[in-house]
């Protein structure tokens, strides 16, 4: 569950003051992690009254930060720490989503346990779940802290360091109403006339990524369940061998000790599958990343739509001006109808109208320019983050698969060990 080269990168960069390894370590090393170590060290249960004055139990997580001074010999700064709960992490993330819409914002670990195989608890209070969540939250912080843009955000920095008043600070940025209006617009249906081909492809990719990772997680959970069954039933051999050994003179010892190995075999699956859960978490992260990717595409779509709408509006205004100037009515308008019914306008009226139109066209031109700039900037930034993300994703998933292979190898070796021991016991019977 390594971050995208964060602390590792920080260490590397501290050995490389001239930045010669710059190719290998991207901008991440020049980010916040260069200056501080971040970890989510502990989790604790708390009870308190919630908004509706009811008693609730929730978990808080200890965020520890420590200044890292690459020049100092003895880095013995004591860490600062504060407690945060999951909902505060969510608040931080929502803020980042609104403030940096073109960034593929790292996802949080899941709120509720999904893709569980039967032995794994789906209970949020279960210690294993809490532990995996703690790791997930730490991973989230490290990813944000190593992002070239996000890591410089003050609200993020204060999240890590300011225990009190952080919530108010976030609210004061006014991101919430912006988020709400944006959300409304994003959820509306709209159609873009000239979609950007790259973003369309990106959207397809994010859909595919989402669907394939969720399918993979489902199948993996089922396979884990079955494997659990296979291993556990072997424990019955242990029991029966032990009972049988009681009536055998010569074979008794052999059976008894072989039985113990069968018990060990049955027990070994617990650790194996717990480790595999880490792999599942890595996949889940990218399942959620796919969602973030989709959001970036969607936001671009909205911008594109707004741009097109602005252009459209401007064009129709210009057309109106032309009609007014030439006196012909090519487009149906209420003014046209009223003038037909109630007689033509006076030259003064026409002039007044012309002035209004000119103003509107001026504003329209400016708005169009704004929107165009906004869109271009968005595309530029989004694309740069997309490239960064792709490099990170390819590296992370490759490593994940390697570690999966390592886990499989370890599992096979354990199996060989147990059965070799059992075979020896049988041979000595």
């Amino acid at each position: 569950m390594a971050d995208s080269g964060g602390p590792e990168a920080a260490q590397l960069s501290s050995n490389d003051p001239k930045g010669e390894l710059g190719d290998v370590i991207p901008e991440e090393a020049r980010s916040l992690l260069r200056k501080m170590e971040i970890s989510v060290a502990e989790a604790e249960k708390r009870t308190g009254k919630n908004a509706v004055n009811m008693l609730e139990t929730y978990t808080v997580y200890l965020i520890e930060t420590r200044r890292v001074d690459s020049s100092a010999e003895n880095q013995n700064f004591s860490p600062d720490s504060l407690w945060r709960r999951y909902s505060e992490f969510e608040l931080l993330r929502n803020y980042l989503l609104v403030t940096y819409p073109f960034v593929i914002v790292p996802p949080l670990p899941e709120k509720r346990a999904e893709f569980v195989w039967h032995k794994l608890s789906a209970d949020n209070m279960d210690p294993d779940f809490v532990e995996r969540r703690r790791i997930g939250l730490e991973n989230f912080l490290l990813r944000v802290a190593s992002h070239p843009i996000l890591s410089n955000d003050k609200i993020f920095y204060d999240f890590l360091t300011e225990e009190n008043g952080w919530k108010e600070e976030v609210m004061e940025t006014g991101f919430q109403p912006k988020a709400d209006s944006r959300l409304k617009a994003l959820n509306a249906t709209f159609r873009v006339k000239n979609p950007d081909k790259r973003f369309t492809e990106l959207k397809h990719y994010s859909d595919e990524l989402q669907s394939v990772t969720s399918q993979l997680l489902r199948v993996r959970a089922r396979v884990a369940d079955r494997l659990y069954g296979v291993y556990k039933v072997h424990g019955n051999y242990g029991r029966v061998f032990s009972e049988w050994s009681a009536i055998e003179r010569e074979m008794g010892d052999g059976l008894q000790s072989a039985g113990h190995h069968m018990d060990a075999y049955a027990a070994s699956i617990d650790d194996i599958l717990e480790e595999e859960e880490n792999y599942a978490d890595q996949l889940k992260e990218y399942l959620f990343y796919a969602e973030a990717l989709k959001a970036v595409c969607r936001k671009h779509e909205l911008l594109q739509y707004e741009l097109e709408t602005a252009a459209q509006d401007l064009m129709s205004k210009k057309q109106q001006r032309e009609e007014l100037a030439s006196g012909t009515v090519r487009t149906f308008s209420l003014k046209g109808m009223t003038s037909k019914l109630f007689g033509q306008e006076t030259p003064e009226q026409r002039e007044a109208k012309m002035r209004v139109l000119e103003e509107q066209i001026q504003e329209g031109e400016e708005l169009l320019q704004e929107k165009k700039t906004e869109c271009d900037e968005y595309v530029r930034n989004a694309w740069s983050d997309m490239e960064r993300f792709t490099v990170q994703k390819d590296r992370d998933l490759r490593e994940a698969m390697i570690s999966y292979a390592v886990m499989q190898i370890s599992m096979c070796k354990k199996g060989i060990q147990v059965w070799t021991n059992a075979k020896e016991c049988f041979s000595k019977m």
Binding site: L209, G229, A258, M401
Partner: protein, 461 residues
């Protein structure tokens, strides 16, 4: 367990009869050591364990064999007649025994013939442990009678059955066994018809039921212990059988889900660029593990499952043997009781007046004559009974010692089979995990190789 070898490497006669039979298996039965009390130990550490390899069938052991008869069962063929379809197996006998006219025989036999042979052996030797036959039908899983795996499993079991008979110093000399091995099909059919008639067999059964109702009075300690052992053993075997079937089922379900796992990675690789190689690599590994799992499943059902099944049947056989022994003892005890009663009658005759004497008086016979007649009658009966009791006592003695001897032999064989079976199972599991290990290790090597190729390409560019 020690092996006593002479300087030349040939085993001497071991006195304890304990065997060290490593790597014994079905087809090796033909050439492996005899398991009667008089044979020596053998150590054969270098023998491969594969039970079904045909090449093992004709492997020759260097130790001298006390065996002079070898039997194999192979070559199943199906026969279709107007009335039925059935399978016959080729039975080949090689022997140096003088009571055989030839030294090699080849006949074809069907399952029914094996059943007949076993029944005859049990009738002739009621307290010997005759190896069980595979079951007539397999109801679980609805295996077809003509399915290849079923036929092969059955063939192996039939082979083992005949080998066990051939190795048995008493059973191998049985006349019916000889006929089974040597007679032509029509000869066997006519011989079968000559067996004890239906009525006499019914009589046996009635006697047996009556005896078991009466119950045996003084079962010797060792047979009590034997009964206890068999009862527990039978339960354990049943449990092991069930556990193994369950493992098989779970593993099959695991395989079914695993088969969907690999293709998902392939699907993913379709959307990716840089990740195509590792994704396809993982998919390939999973598919190869599926193959290994299939192989593991099939060898489970070929080896461990039939072995456990066989010993469940063995327990039933031994329980029946113990019952028959009890019946023999009961028969003896019953007769003995009658004798005792008759002797008591004779005692009483010398002391008090008998009703028949009184009757004799009434009818005018001389009392003394009547009493003498009575005494003579009783005496005759008692002498007859004594003879019968002696015969039955002998019968009990024979039955007991036959069973005692065979019990040791059976236990030793059982230990050999169990050990070989479990060692082989463990080895197969090791092989399975090693196959999977190799698959994932080669994936790692190739993925890391890719990475270093990329890195060096990057540095060079």
């Amino acid at each position: 367990m020690s092996s006593n070898l002479t300087a030349a490497g040939f085993p001497t006669q071991a006195l304890t009869g304990e065997m060290l039979e490593l790597d014994e298996d079905d087809d090796l039965e033909v050439f492996s050591k005899d398991v009667t009390l008089t044979d020596g130990s053998s150590v054969s550490a270098s023998l491969p364990t594969s039970p079904s390899s045909m090449t093992n069938q004709y492997r020759f052991e260097e130790e001298s064999d006390a065996r002079d008869i070898f039997v194999t069962v192979d070559n199943p063929e199906s026969h279709v007649t107007a009335l039925e379809t059935f399978i016959t197996y080729r039975v080949v006998t090689k022997t140096t025994r003088s009571d055989f006219d030839s030294c090699e025989y080849e006949v074809r036999r069907r399952y029914q013939d094996f059943l007949w042979l076993r029944d005859r052996l049990e009738e002739t030797h009621p307290t010997l442990i005759v190896h069980p036959l595979p079951e007539k039908f397999v109801m679980k899983g609805m295996v077809e009678r003509f399915n290849n795996d079923f036929i092969e499993t059955r063939r192996k079991a039939l082979h083992k059955f005949l080998c066990r008979i051939a190795e048995h110093s008493i059973l191998s000399c049985n006349a019916d066994f000889k006929i089974f091995l040597t007679a032509q099909a029509w000869e066997l059919t006519s011989h079968k018809k000559q067996g004890p008639g239906l009525l006499s067999r019914m009589g046996d059964t009635v006697r047996a039921v009556a005896a078991s109702v009466r119950g045996v009075k003084n079962r010797p300690e060792e047979f009590v212990a034997m009964q206890e052992y068999v009862d527990t053993f039978s339960q354990r075997m049943g449990s092991l059988d069930k556990v193994t079937q369950r493992i098989f089922k779970e593993m099959k379900e695991y395989l079914d889900d695993l088969k969907q796992y690999g293709p998902t990675y392939v699907l993913w690789s379709g959307s990716e660029e840089e990740l195509v190689e590792p994704l396809k690599g993982v998919a390939g590994c999973i598919d190869k593990c599926c193959q290994a799992t299939e192989e593991q499943l099939s060898q489970m059902s070929d080896n461990l499952v039939p072995l456990l099944h066989e010993y469940v049947l063995c327990s039933d056989t031994i329980k029946a043997v113990l019952r028959r022994r009890d019946n023999i003892q009961t028969e003896y005890e019953a007769k003995y009781d009658i004798l005792v009663n008759k002797q008591a009658d004779r005692e009483a005759l010398t002391e008090t007046e008998d009703l028949s004497i009184m009757l004799g008086r009434l009818l005018g016979k001389v009392p003394e004559e009547a009493r003498q007649q009575q005494e003579q009658r009783l005496h005759g009966q008692i002498e007859e009974l004594k003879g019968e009791v002696e015969k039955l006592e002998d019968k009990v003695e024979c039955a007991n010692s036959a069973l005692k001897g065979d019990w040791e032999r059976w236990q030793s064989k059982m230990r050999g089979d169990v050990k070989a079976g479990f060692v082989s199972t463990a080895q197969k599991n090791i092989d399975y995990h090693e196959k999977c290990l190799a698959v994932w290790e080669s994936f790692l090597t190739s993925v890391n190789a890719d990475q270093s190729v990329e890195k060096s390409a990057g540095l060079n560019s």
